[in-house]
């Protein structure tokens, strides 16, 4: 049974219809089959990937890394923030034409929300946890839970699953966006229990295209107006659709922030009619040939000429270099 386990493809991958991760097979410590009458040379790492509490000789926890692969299989999500507002966007995917879209963006409190990629069932459960934490804090302190502290609680919860033999890591990555005293924040929490703050980030399949798009612009984000943030979020999602037309039915956008008068604009999804209007106005601007003539006050106009180049950038971001050091977070 042990031998069969080691020689066969790990179960989770078959349901995604992908070939075994051959690029990870050639580990430098590869050993031939030993006394088990080895029919085929084993992938060395398969010995250490059965449970999360087993280290590999290279110091990797393979179960955690596999969990992060699950995130990469989910449909794309994008998050970006200015000094006062944070926007989350997700590409809607449905299993088939007959079914509704998978819900990927959740409001966690008036001042915070998450977008997730990966096993959405895990994401739903974690959203409930986050909501509970925010409610408990608000009950005791009569104030919103600051986003950094929320992200930490989520990360600590994820870490527990990487250190118990009877658990498995959560197979979902969350972009946590919210508002607190020091302004708007965006965090990425990954299944490993690590989390970082970002100005902008993208996760899920084909997210590299969105990341490339955002990398070019992020330095200006702090000064963006909410509308500019929304437009850039939509454009980033568009990058991940790889030629498919962006419409209000294949993306979700949510925004949270502090308005100019000091009051909070609570976390809420933008309704599809308004999304379609914004998409239409973006396309109208796109068709204007001169890249330096801004059709509206969006600051991304001067970059329109770069957009085709971004789309031609290598879309396949998944295969890591075969001998790359342990990537414990994305």
């Amino acid at each position: 049974r042990q031998q069969k386990e080691e020689n066969s493809t790990p179960e989770p991958y078959s349901c995604y219809g992908h070939a075994p991760l051959a690029h990870l097979a050639s580990s430098p410590d590869r050993r031939r089959g030993e006394s088990r009458g080895g029919r085929r040379p084993r992938m060395f790492r398969n010995q250490y990937d059965t449970d999360v509490t087993t280290w590999s000789p290279q110091g990797r926890l393979f179960q955690v890394e596999y969990a992060m692969e699950a995130v990469k299989q989910g449909s794309a999500c994008v998050g970006l923030r200015s000094a006062t507002h944070a926007v989350l966007a997700a590409a809607n995917k449905s299993a088939n034409e007959l079914s509704s879209h998978q819900r990927k963006v959740f409001r966690v409190a008036d001042h915070a929300g998450v977008a997730l990629a990966g096993l959405t069932a895990d994401g739903r459960v974690l959203s409930r946890f986050l909501r509970n934490e925010c409610i408990n804090h608000a009950f005791v302190y009569d104030a919103p839970l600051p986003v950094s502290r929320l992200a930490l609680r989520l990360a600590d919860k994820a870490q527990v699953c990487t250190q118990r033999s009877w658990k498995r890591p959560y197979g979902v990555g969350l972009l946590v966006a919210g508002l607190d005293e020091s302004g708007a924040h965006l965090y990425y929490n990954c299944p490993s229990g690590n989390y970082f703050e970002y100005q902008a980030f993208a996760i899920g399949s084909r997210s590299q295209a969105a990341k490339t798009y955002l990398e070019r612009r992020f330095e200006k984000f702090n000064a963006y107006t909410p509308d500019e943030l929304i437009k850039d979020a939509l454009s980033a999602i568009k990058e991940t659709l790889q030629g498919e037309k962006l419409t209000s039915s294949n993306c979700t956008i949510a925004i949270v922030g502090r308005k100019e008068d000091g009051t909070v604009e609570p976390f809420s999804m933008i309704d599809s009619k308004r999304i379609q209007e914004i998409i239409d106005s973006m396309e109208a601007a796109d068709e204007a040939p001169a890249a330096d003539v801004p059709a509206e006050s969006s600051s991304m106009q001067e970059d329109r000429g770069d957009a085709p180049a971004a789309r031609d950038a290598p879309a396949a971001d998944e295969p890591a270099a075969p001998d790359a050091p342990a990537p414990m977070d994305i």
Partner: protein, 272 residues
């Protein structure tokens, strides 16, 4: 202390039974009654305060919040301790004043210390303001009362914090049973009966610091004359966006030069 009531007919809970077997039989009835009073499981609950602080008075003024109290702590009817600081800073934005059992006030200060330390260690640009601390204390006080083990205090929480709409002054109070509210002026203990009427009549929005001190001293004087457990040694504290100041103790001038006091037996022979 009240005389012990007769032991209950049967034990209230299994743990009570276990305790009963360990207790010296001659003290059984007294412990049983204490156990019954405390919830039936043999443990003790706070039944009376011992070392108690006097009234605290506080009000909002133009730049922030001002708070005052005397520096005495009584042991029953004895004015036992005369240099007790019953107003303390909490974090960067608040002051807390406590009347009632002084040891419970010290315990509350320890909880707040832990709270503000953890908050400070985050170093993330967020800090606990007076509203948050008041909400936290309300939870603590109410939960203790629900366990029949109250922190025997009336706490006054005041502070100023910059909000999105500018500086926001906050003043509230919470007591041993968890009653809590916010107001422009607060008083605890006897101050409720003697100082609040004065404050209701004379408090105005946007008083200067000097006007606020004068009004507070008026209330403190009334309490000095009429509350037998107050002493003539007061401390005033204020908190503004710049920070908090707790002034050194001082005494108020009192006037006992009434004709009737000078020659008491004049109108009533034999009196003193």
């Amino acid at each position: 202390a009240t005389p012990p009531s007769p032991a209950p007919a049967e034990p209230r809970s299994s743990s009570d039974e276990r305790n009963q077997s360990r207790i010296n039989p001659s003290r059984e009835s007294m412990d049983a009654s204490a156990a019954a009073a405390g919830g039936g499981d043999g443990t003790q609950r706070t039944l009376n305060p011992y070392v108690t602080g006097n009234s605290v008075i506080a009000m909002k003024y133009k730049d922030g919040v001002i708070m005052a109290c005397d520096t005495g702590a009584s042991y029953g009817s004895t004015l036992r301790y005369k240099s007790v600081e019953r107003i303390k800073e909490v974090g960067k934005h608040s002051l807390i004043g406590g009347s009632g059992e002084f040891s419970d006030f010290q315990e509350i200060l320890r909880y707040l210390d832990e709270l503000t330390l953890n908050d400070h260690m985050w170093d993330d640009g967020n800090s606990l303001g007076p509203k948050e601390i008041h909400a936290y204390l309300t939870r603590v006080m109410y939960n203790r009362r629900n366990k029949f083990d109250p922190l025997w205090n009336s706490l006054v929480l005041g502070g100023v914090k910059k909000g999105p709409k500018g500086d926001e002054k906050y003043l509230g109070m919470v007591n041993m049973i968890g009653t809590h509210f916010e107001e422009n002026h607060i008083a605890t203990g006897f101050g409720n009966h003697m100082a609040i009427p004065i404050l209701r009549g004379e408090w105005r929005e946007d008083m200067t610091f000097e006007e606020a001190v004068k009004l507070i001293e008026k209330c403190l004087l009334v309490l000095l004359y009429r509350d037998r457990s107050s002493i003539n040694k007061f401390q005033i504290a204020k908190i503004t966006t710049e920070g908090s100041t707790i002034y050194p103790p001082y005494a108020l001038k009192t006037n006992w030069g009434f004709a009737a006091f000078e020659n008491p037996s004049k109108g009533a022979v034999g009196t003193w």
